[in-house]
């Protein structure tokens, strides 16, 4: 087992006073993959990202990024990472282009190179029209895109994205996802944090769920889902009589029914064979189905079963 880990954190512990915010977090991110750090508000996501990106000290554990020790070789780490923090870190009074060129220069790019790269990013991120306006006139989505563009100015091989789509409307979120996918296609190693289960599901190779400063689950999204349960088939019938007949025909496969919606839910192991078998049984019993759908367990189910709460409940408790 000699995997090529770009980010490797072992036993991270961090306390603020008596408040132990991280309590032994282990993370490994393989080269060219994305790890999503998933957790509710206050789980310790930002704290982890700040530590891994050299911004914050910690009490115990070791961290290596591209083989450099984060404490001893902080400057070396800084030259291979890009960070897009949770709150947009652009200079409001400078224009988009000036922001990019300035950060490029601070990344040690030559003036010509920084300018050329800024042009490239403004095009890629659909910001040409606003390039020469101060960033304070940007919309939330534009600002977030500029923020990400800034952290890519020197094409760092490792990127940290702390909740890159929080507060974006669905369209902006999709365009941000497209940008992130393009980065992944380019071979960038990414650590992304999110509260949106769907986002981790859509983008990440590996998911680590943290809560209360501890890793409570890790794996691919399929692995996490399979921990929670199997696929479910939902059938809707025309009336109560049809539902009753179906129940009889399908027997113990039915796990629940809804008498108002005339629907029945079944657990299936293999979508292809089981769905066919159920339909065959219904056809031979001459029962017609109004609609049917296969539900995969969502990461919301994962979250619920791991933390005992759904993400929405966590959000409501915060308020």
């Amino acid at each position: 087992m000699n995997k090529d880990y770009v980010i490797e954190a072992t036993g991270l512990v961090k306390s603020y006073g008596d408040n132990r915010v991280l309590n032994g977090v282990d993370l490994q991110v393989e080269r060219g993959t994305m790890l999503a750090l998933l957790g509710p508000n206050g789980a310790g996501k930002t704290t982890t990202v700040r530590i891994l990106s050299t911004l914050l000290g910690f009490d115990a554990g070791t961290v290596k990024v591209e083989g450099h020790d984060i404490i001893r070789d902080a400057d070396k780490v800084r030259s291979v990472i890009g960070l897009t923090g949770q709150s947009a870190a652009v200079d409001e009074l400078l224009t988009g282009r000036e922001n990019l060129v300035m950060m490029g220069r601070l990344y040690r790019l030559t003036k010509a190179s920084a300018k050329a790269r800024a042009d490239e990013l403004l095009t890629d991120f659909d910001l040409q029209d606003a390039a020469d306006r101060p960033a304070k006139t940007y919309s939330g989505g534009m600002r977030r895109r500029l923020d990400l563009a800034v952290s890519l100015i020197a094409t760092p091989p490792v990127i940290f994205l702390d909740e890159p789509t929080t507060g974006l409307d669905p369209r902006s979120r999709l365009s941000m996802w497209a940008i992130i996918r393009k980065l992944m296609d380019g071979g960038t190693t990414i650590l992304l944090t999110t509260q949106y289960l769907e986002e981790a599901d859509q983008l990440a190779d590996q998911i680590v769920v943290i809560d209360g400063g501890k890793v409570i689950a890790k794996g691919t999204s399929a692995e996490l889902k399979s921990k929670v349960g199997k696929d479910r088939l939902e059938l809707v019938f025309k009336d109560a009589a049809a539902l009753k007949a179906a129940r009889k025909a399908l027997g113990k496969d039915v796990i629940s029914t809804d008498d108002k919606e005339y629907s029945a839910t079944l657990v299936i192991n293999d979508t292809n064979t089981d769905v066919k078998r159920v339909l065959d049984a219904l056809v031979s019993a001459k029962i017609s189905v109004q609609s049917m759908a296969v539900h995969k367990p969502t990461l919301d189910d994962v979250f619920l079963s791991l933390t005992g709460k759904t993400n929405n409940q966590v959000e409501q408790e915060e308020q």
């Binding site: 700040r50 990106s53 050299t54 911004l55 000290g57 400057d75 800084r78 030259s79 990472i81 890009g82 960070l83 923090g85 949770q86 709150s87 947009a88 870190a89 652009v90 200079d91 009074l93 400078l94 000036e98 300035m102 950060m103 220069r105 601070l106 990344y107 040690r108 790019l109 030559t110 010509a112 190179s113 050329a116 790269r117 490239e120 890629d124 101060p134 800034v150 952290s151 020197a154 094409t155 380019g186």
Partner: protein
């Protein structure tokens, strides 16, 4: 992606200087783009100069040596006062940067972090130069006349710049230590208000009571004001120029390392 990137390959010290230069340009751009603040930079000195000259002029001119108008006496004081209060802007700028996410970005870069402070402090020289020029022009319009030689003016410019730099570094400390911009505002106020008013900036110290006078005569602003005033009026400068320079250098020697240390600690 498309074009390959080209990185600077120069000695570390050059790169550190370059970082500071980049941050100075940033802060200067802030000053020029922040139109509200820029208006203040223009009109506040005009207002102070005209108000002080007209309101106090009549009463105080009796206490002045014969042949010196209050406006000519006031000029040095009002310039130094404006510069001292102007340093508040440095403190606010430093504090603002530390409150916002941008400081995290700077810190995640392989740059020299003290460049951020250098940028704010040095750009302060630009803003204060604007104020000072505006004030001198306004003064000339309402009757200020100086007999200072070119050499004297050179010394005046040098002293004002040195003083600005010293107070900007003091302000940088306040900006780093303060928890909010509101705190910065009152902290700099309680620091600078007594220093400027309990000095010879607006009135001759001879008219003060003895306790106040001991303080006023021995504090840095009086030294700087007296030195600049003597240079403007063409009267003997005595020890004031040297004492002013020593005060400013002393402040710099303490304030630069202290501000840098506090900044590193705060942003770590």
């Amino acid at each position: 992606m498309a074009t390959p990137l080209v990185f600077e390959n120069r000695p570390k010290i050059i790169m550190a200087l370059l970082d500071s230069w980049i941050m100075i340009k940033r802060s200067c751009t802030h000053i020029l783009r922040n139109t509200d603040q820029l208006l203040g930079t223009f009109f506040q000195p005009i207002m102070f100069l005209v108000l002080f000259a007209t309101v106090f002029g009549g009463a105080i001119s009796k206490a002045l040596p014969p042949g010196i108008s209050y406006l000519d006496f006031l000029m040095a004081g009002i310039i130094i006062q404006t510069v001292a209060f102007g340093s508040t802007t440095t403190a606010v700028a430093v504090c603002n940067d530390l409150q916002k996410g941008i400081i995290d970005r700077f810190r995640s870069l392989p740059m020299n972090n003290l460049a951020v402070l250098n940028g704010h402090v040095v750009s302060d020289l630009l803003r204060n130069s604007i104020s000072t020029v505006v004030m001198l022009l306004t003064g000339l319009i309402i009757g200020f006349r100086s007999h200072a030689s070119a050499l004297n003016w050179l010394a005046i410019v040098g002293l004002i710049l040195l003083f600005t730099l010293a107070f900007s570094w003091l302000a940088a400390i306040v900006g780093v230590v303060a928890k909010s911009v509101e705190a910065v505002q009152w902290l700099t106020f309680v620091m600078i208000f007594p220093l400027t008013f309990a000095s010879s900036a607006f009135v001759p110290t001879a008219s003060m009571n003895s306790v106040l006078r001991v303080f006023a005569v021995n504090q840095p602003i009086t030294q700087v004001v007296e030195a600049v005033r003597a240079l403007i009026l063409g009267t003997p400068v005595g020890n004031h120029v040297w004492l002013a320079v020593i005060w400013c250098l002393g402040i710099l020697i303490v304030a630069i390392p202290l501000a840098s240390w506090l900044f590193k600690r705060k942003s770590a």
